[in-house]
């Protein structure tokens, strides 16, 4: 009898567990983040951004889904080549998520880094007109990000990339930025993300700078 009751209870508990279906947040985020490696086209990023949006819709207190949602849209803006209007439209979407995120974590270095990334993307849409204003805005956001966490490698990367972009535009010598990028790449792995689902991108981009040196 006792056995029966134990079996019964076990069964019930198994049933109940399986009723609480749905992978938990960490797991879903981990799986979704793995999707980055398969993204090649704007459409791929759009699909990935939608996944992050679905997670953000459920997990209203989490800033990371918003972070990645905006991040995908910023990449889409960089990838879009046919229309400057579309480039801005993607950034309009990114900006909404960035703003929501900034309200949740107003002292997060990664949040300011992403904001700087978005502002640089705005600059790239029309450098002639937006150059002055957005280079300052993006520079300030990077500065805040580095102030909050001087080791943040993504903030360091954006800092190098922004200054190098400006130097190239003005035809100035860019060799010192290669040195900085090499240094950053060398120490990249010393920085440990807060968790496996925290931002971890940027190494490839730094590599690109270093490789372009040759």
């Amino acid at each position: 009898m006792k056995k029966v009751v134990v079996v019964l209870l076990t069964t019930v508990s198994i049933v109940l567990t399986s009723m609480a279906v749905g992978p938990e947040f960490q797991k879903v985020m981990g799986e979704t983040l793995a999707g980055y490696s398969e993204c090649k086209t704007i459409e791929d990023y759009q699909g990935l951004a939608n996944k992050f949006e679905r997670i953000a819709n459920v997990e209203k207190g989490e800033w990371l889904p918003l972070y990645y949602h905006a991040h995908c849209y910023i990449i889409m803006s960089f990838m879009e080549q046919s229309s400057v209007v579309k480039k801005d439209e993607y950034l309009d979407v990114a900006e909404i998520s960035v703003n929501k995120m900034m309200e949740m974590v107003p002292y997060e270095s990664e949040a300011f880094t992403l904001q700087a990334f978005m502002l640089t993307a705005r600059l790239v849409v029309d450098p002639m007109t937006r150059g002055q204003e957005y280079s300052i805005l993006s520079g300030q956001a990077v500065g805040t990000a580095l102030g909050l966490n001087p080791d943040n490698p993504r903030a360091k990367y954006l800092n190098i990339s922004n200054e190098m972009g400006a130097a190239q535009f003005f035809g100035n010598d860019v060799s010192k930025y290669y040195t900085q990028a090499k240094e950053l790449l060398k120490n990249w792995d010393n920085f440990k993300s807060a968790s496996p689902i925290h931002p971890n991108w940027g190494k490839d981009q730094v590599k690109e700078i270093v490789d372009s040196c040759k």
Binding site: V7, E43, G47, K51, T129, F169, G171
Partner: protein
């Protein structure tokens, strides 16, 4: 016991089967469309409150499987469209949906009315001009009105330099800074030489140049308004230094947490330049000017900004002039002008629905001129105060209303000792205004603006009511039609009001139809318009040339076509625009004996502006070519009024901007580089000589070409900013 076990088994089976039922999955598939049956790729389809979902593919199709059961809400999100929601019962049976999403309404992305107006702004994306264009246009030399004169609807009047719009006199065009009126927006210049705008274009981040049909918020302008919005809060401390062939300037900005102050000082002296480059004019004292300005920005609360600006100008020169009335004697004239302008404004939101815009401006202008045939002292004090409230009544309706007050005092003293001529005239006028306007959106594609303006002048003892209506319709993503109609009133000019207040407002009616298409970096716009004027001031001249019998019996008409084409795509790193205007206009005003084509109208006006960025040289060279058909002028020796033609106006201006360092820019320009002959008719004597002949002198610029070179340095803590927005 066996029953017990049996029961247990039943419960167990029931539980297991129940769990199997719950784990049963449902497939949801379908296609996402818009209301025009186009498929939408990339839409986000999901079950509300869960992670389950997918995106539509390139053909708008989707399919996903969920383990959820029971009643759920299926949602479809797509940017720019209203979200789709459907309650579904998940039972394991396949669900198929084919929703047609409706475009969502967004005022920021909805159509705007552009009839009559050219906007230069960074915030809006679909604009014909960018703020930088004003300073990088060859020949404009950083003068706002000069840059506007490369747009259709304007005439280049070389001997004046002011804005003349669609057959209207320059006095019919008004300038507003942050919503309030500026009197005397141009510098003082020698007779027959072009003036410049007083205000530095780098002060402004937004410009709207309206050639007609403007909002009920703006009045006291018969033909045109130039609306300038000053910069917001600066982003960092900086020091700007300019060293130019004609003077020098310095400006410093200091920031604090929620505000900033900028102080600037400029000194211009044309002595070295004019000694080097021969001038047609014999100067006794070369033009000199000083300008000092202070501006303060202060954030108030979360969304308010208080702006205050004050500037003082002093300029003077002395020259010899051939006056046809005193030939062969040479007249010596001394010009001295002092100018103070103050503007303070606050704009902010009161709550989610209401926003408030308020401002006060005052102008003081003092001319002390010795004209050879008498001393002239002219004084003008003007003030304008305004409050505008705006409310978003609903998603699709905005209203805006407000009140305005204008004050004007003008006095003129004239003395000519040799003939004991002394006169002194002055007048004061107060005007109160109320206006209201509503923007009504039918959809993203159609908007109508309806408004009206009421004015009462205590000096004229007259009131007027001016209705304004405009609308725009979007044909597709790139193209739109817009239309504007309105009645516009303006006080008669000071030079008449100083003699009498027994006059009525001058009046113009505008009808404008505009087509515009913007595709990527190419803009085409065409506009046709018709204007008719009445109540224009007419007068008679007495034998001593004193105007008398002022009345409102004058009238005029103007109609024409304006074309604008801008292309930043075809030529790599190149950017050009072409403007063409055709106008037919006649008027009967002032002391005209009959209706005639006024002297400030050219039938055909053409301009081409080109800019090219050369990365390797860190340079942007550019040129502007302009051509206008001959204007008329009156030769009193001829029987027909205004029957003589000037030479056509031609000019080719070139400029070159060079970025020496990130924070050092060198800029050079030459106006009329090919030396086209520029002659603006003749000035005739007021009285015939003994042979009954009116003597004359040609109206010509003081030099064939104008050369300019300047170096602009910006110092910041970051050391990387520059005056790129100064001169590219």
């Amino acid at each position: 016991m066996s029953i017990y076990i049996k029961n247990t088994v039943i419960v167990l089976v029931a539980l297991i089967s129940c769990s199997a039922l719950m784990a049963q999955s449902t497939n949801i598939k379908g296609v996402i469309f818009d209301i025009k049956n186009n498929t939408l790729p990339g839409a986000n389809i999901y079950i509300e409150g869960t992670y389950y979902g997918t995106s539509s593919d390139a053909n708008g199709k989707f399919s996903f499987t969920t383990n959820e059961t029971g009643k759920q809400v299926l949602k479809v999100d797509y940017i720019g469209f209203e979200p789709y929601r459907k309650e579904v019962e998940l039972t394991g049976k396949q669900i198929n949906i084919e929703p047609h999403l409706k475009e969502s309404f967004n005022q920021l992305k909805a159509i705007t009315i552009i009839a009559g107006s050219f906007e230069a702004s960074e915030t809006k994306k679909a604009v014909a001009l960018k703020p930088l264009d004003i300073v990088t246009t060859a020949g404009a030399l950083g003068d706002i009105s000069g840059a506007m004169q490369t747009l259709p609807g304007t005439s280049t009047i070389g001997e004046s330099g002011r804005l003349f719009v669609r057959g209207g006199h320059s006095g019919e065009a008004q300038t507003y800074i942050d919503g309030t009126l500026v009197h005397e927006p141009y510098t003082t210049s020698a007779p027959n030489t072009a003036v410049r705008g007083r205000f530095n274009p780098f002060m402004f981040s937004g410009t709207v140049f309206s050639t007609g049909g403007y909002s009920a918020e703006y009045g006291q302008a018969l033909s045109s308004v130039l609306l300038l919005r000053t910069n917001g809060l600066q982003q960092e401390d900086q020091l700007d230094i300019s060293i130019m062939s004609i003077g020098t300037g310095v400006a410093g900005t200091k920031l604090w947490e929620s505000g900033a102050v900028t102080a600037s000082f400029d000194y211009m002296n044309l002595t070295p330049y004019m000694q080097l480059i021969p001038q047609n004019i014999n100067w006794n004292k070369y033009p000199q000017s000083y300008n000092g300005a202070i501006s303060v920005r202060q954030k108030t609360g979360k969304r308010g900004l208080l702006k205050t600006y004050i500037t003082y100008d002093k300029s003077s020169f002395s020259m010899d002039q051939e006056n046809p009335d005193y030939l062969p004697e040479i007249t010596n004239i001394n010009i001295d002008n002092q100018y103070v302008y103050f503007n303070t404004s606050w704009r902010g939101t009161l709550n989610d629905k209401w926003s408030l815009k308020t401002g006060v401006s005052t102008t003081g202008n003092l001319d002390n001129n010795e004209l050879g045939f008498g001393d002239y002292r002219g004084q003008l004090h003007g003030a304008n105060a305004k409050i505008v409230l705006a409310n978003q009544i609903s998603e699709k309706i905005n209203i805006r209303f407000g009140t305005e007050y204008f004050y004007k005092y003008s006095s003129v003293k004239y003395n000519y000792e040799p003939y004991s001529v002394h006169y002194q005239l002055n007048y004061t006028s107060n005007m109160i205004v109320g206006f209201a306007e509503a923007d009504i959106y039918a959809s993203n594609k159609f908007v109508a603006r309806v408004g009206g303006r009421y004015e009462y002048s205590d000096y004229l003892k007259k009131y007027n009511f001016a209705p304004r209506i405009s609308a725009a319709y979007k044909i597709d993503d790139k193209s739109q039609f817009s239309f504007a109609y309105g009645i516009f009133f303006q006080d008669p000019a000071n030079e008449y009001l100083i003699y009498t207040g027994k006059l009525d407002f001058e009046r113009a009616n505008h009808f404008i139809l505009n087509y515009q298409t913007i595709k990527e970096n190419r803009t085409f716009r065409a506009e046709v318009y018709y204007k008719d004027y009445n109540n224009l001031v007419k007068y008679q001249l007495t034998d001593h040339l004193v105007p008398t019998d002022h009345n409102n019996s004058g009238s005029a008409y103007a109609y024409g076509l304006d074309i604008f084409w801008r292309d930043r795509k075809t030529i790599r790193n190149g950017d050009y625009w072409i403007s063409y205007s055709y106008i037919d206009s006649k008027r009967n005003f002032r002391d005209y004996p009959c209706e005639a084509i006024p002297g400030f109208v050219s039938k055909h006006n053409f301009s081409l502006v080109y800019k090219h960025w050369i990365g390797e040289l860190r340079s942007q060279p550019g040129f502007t070519f302009k051509y206008s058909t001959p204007r008329c002028y009156n030769n009193p020796n001829k029987a027909d009024f205004n029957s003589e033609s000037m030479t056509p106006y031609r000019t080719l201006n070139v400029n070159w901007s060079f970025l020496y360092r990130q924070n050092v820019i060198i800029y050079a320009s030459i106006s009329n580089v090919t030396g086209f002959k520029q002659e603006y008719g003749y000035n005739y004597a007021s009285f015939a000589n003994d042979e009954g002949f009116y003597e004359s002198v040609p109206v010509i610029p003081d030099a064939k070409r104008f050369y300019f070179i300047g170096c602009f340095i910006t110092l910041t803590k970051m050391g990387e900013a520059n005056q790129l927005n100064k001169l590219e």
